[in-house]
Symmetry: C2
Subunit: 384 residues, 2 copies
């Protein structure tokens, strides 16, 4: 179908067979099924097509029993013999074949890497398989959801963001790592944290404290908060990437550790909490392996300006986007019926200002690690 | 001078004296000298003032002998009794006092943290010490340059970005870390990497390979490039932050390791190389401890499209900013007389496209680690 140069001789030498994990075998068989359907259709002289679960907002719903955001049953048919769908059908198959190649070779790559791996001019035309990355990314999500496979299972990784430190020993790709001896930098949480790659060996943690930002995390690490309070300390560099969310999920479910989130008193902080707890709307199909419905919010509260006696200098005025976002978040089905959250968000709006965790430094350099968080935890004073 | 609440009783308990390193003592004494000058001026009934070395482009020059960007001798006087300078004079002293407090307490914080630590309403007025972060940041740089102290020596850290892996054992804040056993995430390079915090214990590396992006770094780590080639593998998440630059500088000078940089064939990649090699214009006062004049460029070259037989699909058209930046970079005094670099940049402009390192995946998933970089190194085919 496409004109591609052969891999150069130097790299064609790989002969050792790649060992596939049981998860790889499962993903591979889903990919093969996807491909077989094309052949089947051809044999039956039927037009090849694939069903892609719809990722639109209308196909997302809140599962009240499980307290996670889920995808509904809506699907879109994508057909080869349909002028408006032929290209995206081809792209879907191409992404499938690229992921199969990665799994076959026992390698992983970034979504940028996959894009370049698959991008080429279609033979006999001037048409590119993908014009740009933005055209490739949604197709990757389509394949994930169609196969019910995490991106990581398709051997694709995201940018690394986030770190972990604390009394836990893990194995990462065969290396034994003691997260209590990681110096000031901590263990960089990789994008792929599935049990095939990362195993928990032993730990002495009572809970996980997840903080929003790297800079706040450094304060906690420097003050050895995790040592004093026997906890695992993580951050996600803002909105936590999948690797961090998945790791928090595994720490919670496999090690039975409660997860507390220290986030800013602003719509962005609320949203991060919402994503950690219920899953994200955009990646609703991954909630089951990502969301932590029992996570608690120990972040800054709208009442903290008064309660902690903060100076007016630390207030940051809400802008129009903040107000709009705050109202949106208040109307999420999973916040809608929570009195405490409604009160929290309403107060922020009537305060007309937001507060960052960093602002607590105006009380004392280590106020956040020595007073604020210990008190919240001791009083079990958090939002659910 | 200002109305500030006392630190709450719970946090005032710190009684253990903080051990100051010899570097801390040096920084502290510079800060005290700065403060003493105010008192001296008062005693002599002279208007207090401080000289701030000028950080404007006109005060930056290329030291041809040492091959680094340096600051010239230009200074600006900042006076208290000058209406247009009074505020920035006060801010300068305030930053100085904040840094003294951090050193006294043996703590570090982010520039965001320092901003909040110092921000308050000046007593009897409605004036804020700083209106926003953007007002505080240049004053921090002023203090750095006035005291000839690295930001890190003032106990300020930047966001963590960048990772390291390879046959080297280090001590970080007392923890012994073997960078050859760091799993897939690697050792997260912290912002403060001064010898007081990080010591090199032993290593078996022959060189350092610094790659631009985390996602490319993952490819090299997954392929265990550093094991095969006995090197230390680092990345800086794009433009490397100070911590990464300083660590590369230390690896180069203390361990006598050559540093090779794998960057994109675009003005941004050239610029990153320029900063690693000669220092940055904005932080010229830090070049002596950051720059690596012997660093080599093994990044993508304008001739690679032909040489590697890449498909036209991987070309990325230059935009106007790219062209403008390319010409600027070509006229830098440290590139101006280098024929190879002039040829390189000219060819990119006449190609009218740029190439990312990731595009090599179109040859083969591991082409970059198994063919491209090994060949460049073997042929000593790099730009200087």
């Amino acid at each position: 179908m496409a004109k591609r140069k052969q891999a150069p001789a130097e790299t064609a030498k790989r002969t050792e067979p790649v060992k596939l994990s049981s998860k790889d075998k499962k993903t591979l068989s889903s990919l093969v099924v996807m491909a077989d359907r094309v052949v089947e259709a051809a044999h039956k002289a039927k037009p090849p097509a694939i069903d892609i679960p719809s990722r639109s907002l209308s196909n997302v719903r809140f599962n009240k029993a499980q307290k996670i955001i889920e995808m509904g049953g809506g699907k879109n048919k994508r057909e080869l013999f349909n002028l408006s769908q032929a290209k995206s059908y081809m792209q879907t198959m191409l992404v499938g074949s690229g992921c199969k190649r990665l799994i076959d070779e026992g390698k992983t790559t970034s979504i940028r890497g996959l894009y370049y791996l698959l991008k080429h001019t279609i033979e006999g035309t001037k048409e590119e398989t993908f014009n740009d990355q933005a055209e490739c990314d949604p197709v990757i999500e389509d394949v994930e959801v169609a196969l019910d496979a995490l991106r990581e299972e398709l051997h694709l990784y995201a940018q690394t963001k986030g770190a972990m430190v604390g009394p836990i020993e893990i194995t990462d790709s065969g290396d034994e790592i003691d997260c209590s001896r990681m110096g000031s930098g901590g263990y960089a949480i990789p994008s792929i944290v599935e049990p095939e790659r990362i195993q928990f060996r032993k730990h002495a943690a009572k809970f996980v404290l997840h903080v929003e930002k790297d800079t706040v995390w450094q304060r906690f690490n420097e003050d050895k908060f995790w040592k004093k309070h026997h906890c695992i300390l993580t951050h996600g560099g803002g909105q936590p990437p999948r690797g961090v969310r998945r790791l928090l999920n595994r720490l919670h479910y496999e090690l039975k550790l409660p997860v507390y989130c220290l986030l800013d008193n602003d719509p962005w902080g609320y949203y991060i909490y919402s994503v950690i707890k219920q899953g994200s709307i955009n990646l609703a199909f991954e909630s089951r392996r990502m969301a932590i419905p029992e996570a608690k919010y120990v972040g800054l509260r709208s009442k903290d300006y008064e309660r902690c006696g903060l100076s007016s200098s630390v207030k940051i005025r809400l802008n129009d986007t903040d107000k709009k976002r705050a109202k949106q978040i208040a109307s999420y089905p999973w916040f809608e019926h929570k009195k405490e959250w409604q009160k929290e968000i309403q107060q922020m709006i009537s305060n007309d200002f937001k507060l960052e965790v960093e602002s607590l430094i105006s009380k004392d350099i280590s106020y956040v690690t020595e007073v604020y968080v210990p008190q919240r935890l001791q009083d079990r004073d958090f939002l659910d």
